[in-house]
Amino acid sequence: MRTARNYLRREPSVLAAWVVLAVIVGIWLAGTSNLSVLSVTIMVGQKVPLVLASIGAAIVIMSRGIDLSVGAVLTVVNTIIAAGTAAHGNSVVWIGIGMCVALAAGAVNGLCVAMLRLPPLIVTLAVQSILLGVALYVLPTPGGQVDGWLKDLPLLLVGPVPLMLLIVIAVPLVTWYPLRRSRFGSALLSSGADEGAAYASGINVKKTVVSSYMLSAFFAGLAGVIMSMNTGSGDPTIGVPFTLNTIAAAVVGGVSLAGGRGTIAGPIAGALVVSFIGNLLFSIGVNSYWQYVVTGAVLIVAIAIPVGLRAIRAGRQAS
């Protein structure tokens, strides 16, 4: 209990993100009359890819980097699975191949940033371009297929709970929390906070940064796998909105772009907030184009509130 309270005191924006999420979901529930287990299950499944991809993007941002290739990694994995299965069958093999490509892309990002000391924005932008090209080679037009049982997974219920909901909860628990508690977790945050100090304290900064980009690619790849299950096919442009939405999710979830600060619970809430805005506006009958305007406004407010609070607190201390 006390650790939870300390956690929230340390990370007020995480609490804020979950409160905003609760409000949005509340309004959405109130405004949606024809809810069924099936529709909720499908909806949860649609949110999983953004949640997973945002976790990856947040890890890179914690190391004071930025990953613009998230959407492209997702796309490549999606097209490899769909085109591969359509041509040779057996989706599982193609999922493996797709994940290998994703990890390789993450390694290229990480090595360019850590070893060659190139600016992450441009490196990941270039890698994004390469990956989108690869995706277009693999699958020039939307199509392909995945194994039937994979398509059924997003609709699967484990008892009363949708499998996809379990995945959203389980994946961060089994991947991130052990990492955060391990040496890597503190290495990641301290490399992001102050590279020089981290190096002086014996942290292998380069290895940490490379790992962060590979983790990002891993999560983006997983998102691509789930995306393939959801759609049952491939699309070489499917990942376009993900790149910037994952950054928005991380920021709304309180991950500092200056590096060194952040949680995973925050970006998960952030991703759900960003993706629920569309559902919310639809349920209250607003033109869906407003969702862009609202998303932008939420992003600004999410950043401005901590700044405002700090200013007020500083003002109170001064007087």
Binding site: L121, S129, I300
Partner: protein, 329 residues
Amino acid sequence: MTATPGGTAAVGLKPRATRADRLRQLVPVIVLVVMYAITVGIAPGYLKAPQIGSLLQLASILGVAAVGQTLVILVGGIDLSVGAVVTMTNLMAAAIIANRDTSLPVALVVVLGIGALVGLGNGLLIQYLKVPDLVATLATMTIVVGVGLLFTHGSPKGHSSPALNALVTQRFLGVLTGGVVIWAIVAAIVIIFLRSSAGGRYVYAVGLNREASRYAAVPVTRTVILLYVASGLTSALAGFLLTGYTGSAYLASGDTYQMQTIAAVILGGTSMFGGRGGYGGTIIGVLITVLLVSALRVVGIVQAGQDIAYGIILLSMLVLLTRMARRSA
């Protein structure tokens, strides 16, 4: 680009070109020349006026949009809203012009006003709410995309007018168009501003060291805000010219400018970390970008190969530039 207040504080700050800076300027030119030579070797048509003219025509729009991006990156910022502003101003210009030459002045004023407003929003968010550049421009980008959609209800209307079409597409002296002349004028203004005005000195000072600039009485806040306003203005001008180029408007028409302007600035040797580079380099970067895309298309490489080649060239140029700069520093 009116940030030329008569301060004396930063006048002595004229950056001296080091060997690293000169190399930085030289590498893009060499790359451009080599690329052009290879392209001509494969497709000799690239030596002829019509082909050069069409390259310049494309370059003029990207070049105008890249003006703001250069200025913003010079102070260590980034403007992700460029593409969205180009798209929105394209949509609005087409709707206002609606095939009438007489509506051109109104359209231009409205479009520039909107661009300036978006830039002002970016600048205020960054300087007063302390929102990081990346996030602030990401947020305004999202909003601008939404406004564009709300404005058109998803189905763009309107057309360019004969005069605007002629300005952007009609060639004279073989290769020039009115759009290219406008680009040249804007480029000249920016280069002169950066090289020999107090405002230009401020830009480099803020880019090299924000804290020190503040102590040296450089108006940091005003400089950064005005640069973002300038970026909004040039993006809007690019959207206006794009309307003449395409003859109408379509959704997402300007989206490629978001990343292409950043790439052009970097290819031109301007440092992402601010304080080093200039618009002269960006011109070369713009030409490299346009030539690359066009040449790959002419050779018959499909979109997929274009994307891959574009990424690889961007990455290797970056490695090359950083290596050379570091070795000679």
